[in-house]
C-alpha cells in the first residue's frame, strides 16, 4: 500500500464539494432549550443515561403481522403454492439475499439492511402456541418461565430492577401495556399529542398553585388503593409533563398514528431524561381479509415511521438505541379467500447501529406444518428477549425470563466508550463492501468537507474490508496533519462544539456537548467522536444525496459509462463492488464481455481509439492523443487498460460528474 497517495488531504479539485451543499436543517431545532427557572427543580428528577447504556424501543405489531409476506421467501415454491394470489412475486420484492425479498412497501427498511443495521430473526415462537390474539399477546409480553399469561411483563420486571425513576420506562400513547408492568414499577404513558403536556404550564393563568396542588396531592386517599393511585398518577403526570415539555412540540400533526408515535419515541430518547425502555404499539395487523391492500398500507406507514424515527433520533444516541419488532404470532401459511387466519412462529426484526445485520434463527419448513397448517417454531421468543436483556440492558435473563441468554448474536453491546469499537464488526462480509465504502466517504465529508478521491476511497475501502473498523479508520484520519492543525489544540469541550458546527452544521445542544465532552474525559478518542458523528442518523440523512451519487461518479460508475455508454443500475454497482475486485480487474472483465466485443471487436488499434474518443468523450481524437493510445495498443497494452485510462481521465471524470448533478 502506498500510504502517501491515499492520505486524505483536502483538495480544491473537482470532487471538492461544499459541506453546505450536503447539510440541511433537520427537524431538531428547539430541542434542549434552557429550562425556565420555575421548572428547575422538576427537571432535576430526570437523569441522563450513561454512554454505555442501551435504550430499547419495543415495537409490538398487534394483530399478528404476516412475516411471510414481510420477508418473502422468494425461492420457496411452497410459499407460492399456499399463498396463491396473496403471494408477493420475487420481482416485486426489495431483494435482501438470494432467497429472501422484502415487502415492496418498505424501502427504508431495505436501506437499513443495506447498511448492515437490520437483523431478521426467523422462526420465533414457542411450544404449544395459542391462536388467540389475547392469550398469545399476554404470553409474549409476560415472557415468564412457564410461558403463560401473567400479571407482569418482561420489561416491567426489568424496570423493577433499574433505578425506578418515573421516566425510565415509557409507553407512547394512551395505554400502558402489560409489557411495562412490573411487580413494583409500572411505566408511564406519554400522550401522543403535545397539547396535554403543554397544558401543564406554570406561565398560564397563574396556574402554579393549582399545579402544585396536584403535584403535592396527598399520597394517600380515604378512598383506598385506587384513590391513592389516582392521586399519585396525577402528581406523576404533572411532574412528567414538566420534565418533557421543553423537549416536545406542542403542535399536532396529521401524520399517521405510527409515524407520530415513533417520532415521539425518538424525541423522548433525545430528551435524555433517563428513558431506557419504550413501548410502541401498532396494528391492526389481523389481516383475515383484504390482506394485500391492508398489509401494504400498514407496512408502508410503518416504513415511513421508521424513517421518521431515525431522522428524528439525535446522532449521539445512534449507538445506544435499538428497535425490536415483535408480534403475537404470524399468519397461516395457506391463504383463505383474500387473507390469512391466525398462525404461529414469525420473524422478529431489530434495527440499530449495534445490530449485527443479517439473518438469524431458521426459517420454519413450509413442508412440515402442524395439523392446522401452521409452522413449527425454531427459536424460542424468550431467547430473543434474553439477548436484549443481557447485551443491551445489562439485566439478568435468568432472573427476568427464567432462562439463560442464547447468544443468537444479532446484537453488540451499546455505547461508544466501552466494550469495543463504535462500528459493529463481524457483520456478514462480502455483501457490504459498498456500505463500508459509503461509511468511509461519510467520514471524509465529516473530517474534510469533501468526497474522497478515487484512490483514497479504494484504499480505505480495502482497509475496512480487511476487517478493521470504521473507528480504526477514523483514528487514522484524526492523526492527519490537517485535522490536528484545525482541532488539535482545542480542549475537549471546544473540540466538540466545533465538531457540531463543522460536521452537523449547527450548534451542539447542551446535553449533546456534555455527553461527548464527558466521554472524552473518560478516555474516548477523538476519532471515536467523529465516527459517531459521521454515522449518526442526522449526518447520514444530510449527506444522503452525495453518498447516493458516490459510486455513480466513482471509478466503477465511470467504467460502466465508458464501456457501455449508460449509467449503471444500482444492483450492478453493488455486485461489482462486492466482488472486491480492483478497478483494473473490473475493466478487464468488462473488456471481455460480449457486449463490448461486439461493439469494438472488429476494429484495429487506430479505429478502436477513434471510436472510444467518440463514444466516451464525445469528440474526435486530437492528433497527439490518437497517436499516444494507438501506440500503446500496438505495443501490447490490453484494451481494458486503455478503457481504464479514458475512464479515469480528468475530462471524463468531469463529464460524468455533470451527468449526476447534486
Amino acid at each position: 500500500m502506498i500510504r502517501g497517495g491515499s492520505d486524505p488531504v483536502p483538495s480544491s479539485g473537482s470532487d471538492a464539494v461544499s459541506r453546505r451543499a450536503f447539510l440541511h436543517a433537520l427537524g431538531l431545532a428547539g430541542v434542549a432549550t434552557a429550562l425556565p427557572p420555575w421548572l428547575a427543580d422538576a427537571a432535576a428528577t430526570a437523569t441522563p443515561i450513561r454512554p454505555d447504556q442501551g435504550v430499547v424501543v419495543v415495537l409490538t405489531l398487534e394483530g399478528g403481522n404476516d412475516g411471510l409476506n414481510t420477508f418473502v421467501p422468494v425461492t420457496n415454491g411452497l410459499y407460492y403454492d399456499h399463498r396463491r394470489d396473496l403471494a408477493i412475486e420475487p420481482g416485486d420484492t426489495l431483494s435482501l439475499s438470494g432467497d429472501r425479498g422484502l415487502h415492496p412497501a418498505m424501502p427504508f427498511l431495505k436501506s437499513q439492511w443495506s447498511g448492515g443495521r437490520l437483523a431478521i430473526i426467523d422462526g420465533v415462537g414457542q411450544s404449544g402456541p395459542d391462536l388467540s390474539h389475547f392469550v398469545q399477546m399476554d404470553r409474549i409480553m409476560a415472557a415468564n418461565r412457564r410461558d403463560l399469561p401473567g400479571s407482569t411483563g418482561w420489561l416491567g420486571r426489568v424496570l423493577d430492577g433499574l433505578d425506578r425513576q418515573p421516566l425510565t420506562g415509557l409507553a407512547v400513547g394512551r395505554r400502558v401495556p402489560l409489557l411495562l408492568q412490573g411487580e413494583v414499577v409500572r411505566g408511564n404513558a406519554v400522550p401522543l399529542d403535545g397539547g396535554p403536556i403543554h397544558a401543564v404550564d406554570y406561565a398560564d393563568w397563574a396556574a402554579g398553585p393549582r399545579l402544585d396542588a396536584l403535584r403535592q396531592a396527598s399520597p394517600t386517599s380515604d378512598l383506598g388503593a385506587l384513590g391513592h393511585d389516582a392521586n399519585r398518577l396525577m402528581a406523576d403526570a404533572v411532574g412528567m409533563a414538566l420534565d418533557l415539555r421543553a423537549h416536545l412540540p406542542s403542535s399536532g400533526s396529521d401524520d399517521p398514528d405510527i409515524v407520530r408515535q415513533l417520532r415521539l419515541a425518538a424525541l423522548l430518547v433525545n430528551a435524555d431524561i433517563g428513558v431506557r425502555v419504550l413501548s410502541v404499539r401498532f396494528g391492526d395487523f389481523d389481516t383475515h381479509g383484504d390482506q394485500l391492500v391492508r398489509h401494504a398500507a400498514l407496512l408502508g406507514s410503518l416504513d415511513d415511521a421508521l424513517k421518521t424515527f431515525y431522522e428524528t433520533l439525535s446522532p449521539r444516541f445512534d449507538d445506544q438505541v435499538i428497535l425490536l419488532a415483535t408480534s403475537e404470532f404470524g399468519r397461516r401459511v395457506r391463504a383463505n379467500v383474500n387473507g390469512t387466519d391466525h398462525g404461529t412462529a414469525n420473524s422478529y426484526f431489530a434495527i440499530g447501529s449495534k445490530v449485527n445485520g443479517g439473518f438469524y434463527g431458521q426459517q420454519p419448513s413450509l413442508a412440515n406444518l402442524d395439523r392446522w397448517g401452521n409452522v413449527h417454531h425454531t427459536v424460542d421468543y424468550r431467547h430473543v428477549f434474553a439477548d436484549v436483556l443481557a447485551t443491551w440492558l445489562g439485566a439478568d435473563p435468568k432472573g427476568v425470563l427464567g432462562l439463560d441468554a442464547a447468544n443468537i448474536g444479532f446484537l453488540s453491546a451499546p455505547g461508544t466508550s466501552t466494550g469495543g469499537p463504535t462500528t459493529p464488526t463481524g457483520r456478514p462480509s462480502g455483501d457490504d463492501r459498498r456500505s463500508q465504502r459509503e461509511q468511509v466517504a461519510r467520514l471524509y465529508l465529516a473530517y474534510f468537507g469533501r468526497m474522497p478521491d478515487d484512490d483514497g476511497l479504494d484504499y480505505w475501502g480495502r482497509v475496512r474490508a480487511s476487517g478493521r473498523s470504521l473507528v480504526d479508520v477514523s483514528d487514522e484520519f484524526a492523526s492527519s496533519p490537517e485535522f490536528l492543525a484545525r482541532y488539535g489544540a482545542l480542549p475537549d469541550r471546544q473540540f466538540v462544539q466545533l465538531a457540531y458546527r463543522e460536521v452537523l452544521g449547527r450548534e451542539g445542544d447542551a446535553a449533546g456537548v456534555d455527553h461527548w465532552a464527558a466521554a472524552l474525559g473518560r478516555g474516548a478518542r477523538r476519532g471515536e467522536v467523529f465516527a459517531g458523528f459521521s454515522e449518526s442518523a442526522e449526518f447520514i440523512a444530510s449527506s444522503r444525496a452525495a453518498i447516493d451519487r458516490l459510486e455513480f461518479v466513482g471509478p466503477l460508475g465511470r467504467l460502466y459509462r465508458a464501456y457501455f455508454l449508460r449509467a449503471p443500475d444500482d444492483e450492478g454497482l453493488s455486485y461489482w463492488i462486492n466482488t472486491g475486485m480492483g478497478r483494473a480487474e473490473v475493466s478487464e472483465q468488462f473488456a471481455s464481455s460480449s457486449e463490448f466485443k461486439s461493439a469494438y471487436g472488429d476494429l484495429d488499434a487506430s479505429g478502436f481509439v477513434r471510436m472510444v474518443y467518440r463514444n466516451v468523450l464525445g469528440r474526435d481524437p486530437d492528433g497527439r492523443g490518437h497517436v499516444y493510445w494507438t501506440s500503446l495498443i500496438v505495443g501490447g497494452t490490453p484494451r481494458g487498460s486503455v478503457m481504464l485510462g479514458f475512464s479515469d481521465s480528468t475530462e471524463f471524470v468531469q463529464k460524468v460528474a455533470s451527468l449526476h448533478p447534486l
Binding site: G173, P209, R210, G227, L233, V337
Partner: protein, 439 residues
Amino acid sequence: MSDYLADVAHLFRRSGFGALSDELAQYESWAWSDLVDLVLDTSRAPTTPTVPAEALDAGTENHLRAAAFLHYWLDMASRPVDQAPVVEKVTLFLSGLLPTSLVRTHDVGGAIALNQLFRSRGMDDYRDVLREAVINTAMLRYLDNVYNRVGVINENFARELLELFTLGPGVYDQQDVTEAARAWTGHGLDAAQAGYLFDAGRHDYGSKTFLGVTGALDGPDVIDIIFDQRRDDHARFMCHKLWEFFAYPVEPHQAEVSDIMAAYSAGLRIGDAIRAIFLHPRFRSAAARWALVRSPIEYLVAVMRHTDTDCSVLHPEWWCGGMGQHPFYPPNVNGWGHNEYWLTSSAGLVRLTMVNYLHAEIAQRGDLADVYPGGASSGRTSSEVVDSALANYRIAPVSATSRQSLVDYVERVRASAYGWSERTGLLHLPLLLPELVLA
C-alpha cells in the same frame, strides 16, 4: 357520610353515572331493595329520541357522523338517576363486549344499529342480542365473515364468537373454531353491501361436529349449542364480565361470580344478573366502594352532570380518544380494559387539558361567576369556599383527604401572589378529585 348513604351513592355510580348531591338527598332514606328496583326500572327511561340527521347522513365524513352520534348518546346518558341510566351503562358494557371499529368497517350505519340494539334490548336475553349483533353489517365486516365461504373458511368471526363473545379461552379447541367457521359460511352481505344476506351457494352444508354436537350445523345452531350445551361455562364467562364491570375485579372462579350465575342462567337476561350483583352482600362492602376507575365515557358523562353542561359544550369526542376510549374506535376486538387500564399519565393529562378548556367555557357562562365569592378579602374561610365550590358542582360530601387537598390549595393560593386565581382553582380541582375519577 354514613355507610348507608355511601352505599346509596355507590349504587348510583355503578348503575349509572353517579348522583348529584340533591339526588342523593332525595333517595337516602329509601330501602335498598326499593333503590335496586328504582335503578333497574327501565320503564323510567325516557323515550329514545330520533337519531340526529348528521349521524345518518351518508354524505358526511365518518368521524363527524360518529361524533354526532356520540353527542346523541352521551346527552341521553347524562340523565337523572331515577330515569334508568343503567340502560346506557349496559349499552356501554356491550359496546366493549361486542365491539366494531370504524377504522376497519367504515360502516357508521351498522355501528349505530348495534348501539341502538344494545339500548333497546341489552338488559334482556343475551342470546337474542347476540343473534342480531352477529349479522349486523358492521360486525360482518369487522370480523370478516363476509369472506367466509365453503371450502375457504375465514376463522376470524368464529374464533372471537367463542373466545370473546360467549365462552372465553379454554372451553373449546381449534377444531371447534374451524367447525364453527364452517357453520357460519355464507352469512354475509347482499349485493348492494347494505344488508345481511345468507348466500346458500357459499354455505357449507356438510356435517360438522361443534362442542360435541354433530350435524349439518348452520351459524345460528352454533349459538344455540353454546348456550344450551355450555350454559354454565357461558354463564360464568358473562357473570365474571358483569361483576367486574359493575362491582370490582375478581377471578372467574370466585364465589361472587358463582353466586349470581343462577340468576343469569335462568333467562340469559343481563338485567337479572345486574340485579343479583346489586343485591349481593359483597356489593355493599367497603372494599367494593371506589374499587373501579371510571372509564373515560363514564367520567365525561359525570363531568357533564356536575357542571351542568352537555355535549355541545364539552365535546366529548375531543377528549375520549386521548383518554383511551372512543366508543366507535376500540383498540381491538377485545374492547377495553378496566381500572388500572384507565389510570395512565396520558389520560391524567388529558383530563387536565379538558378541565382547562371547560373552565373557560363555564367562566363565560357568567352564572357561576358569582356563586362563591372567594379570596382572602371575601372574609370566607378556606373551608367555607371549598364547601361552596363542591356544592356548586353538586358533588356530594367528599372524603376528608380530598377535602383537605382543596383546603390546602386555597391556603396556598391565598399565600401566593396569585390570590385572585382562587376561584379558577376551585373550578378546576374538584373535577380531578378521586371522587370523580373513580366509580
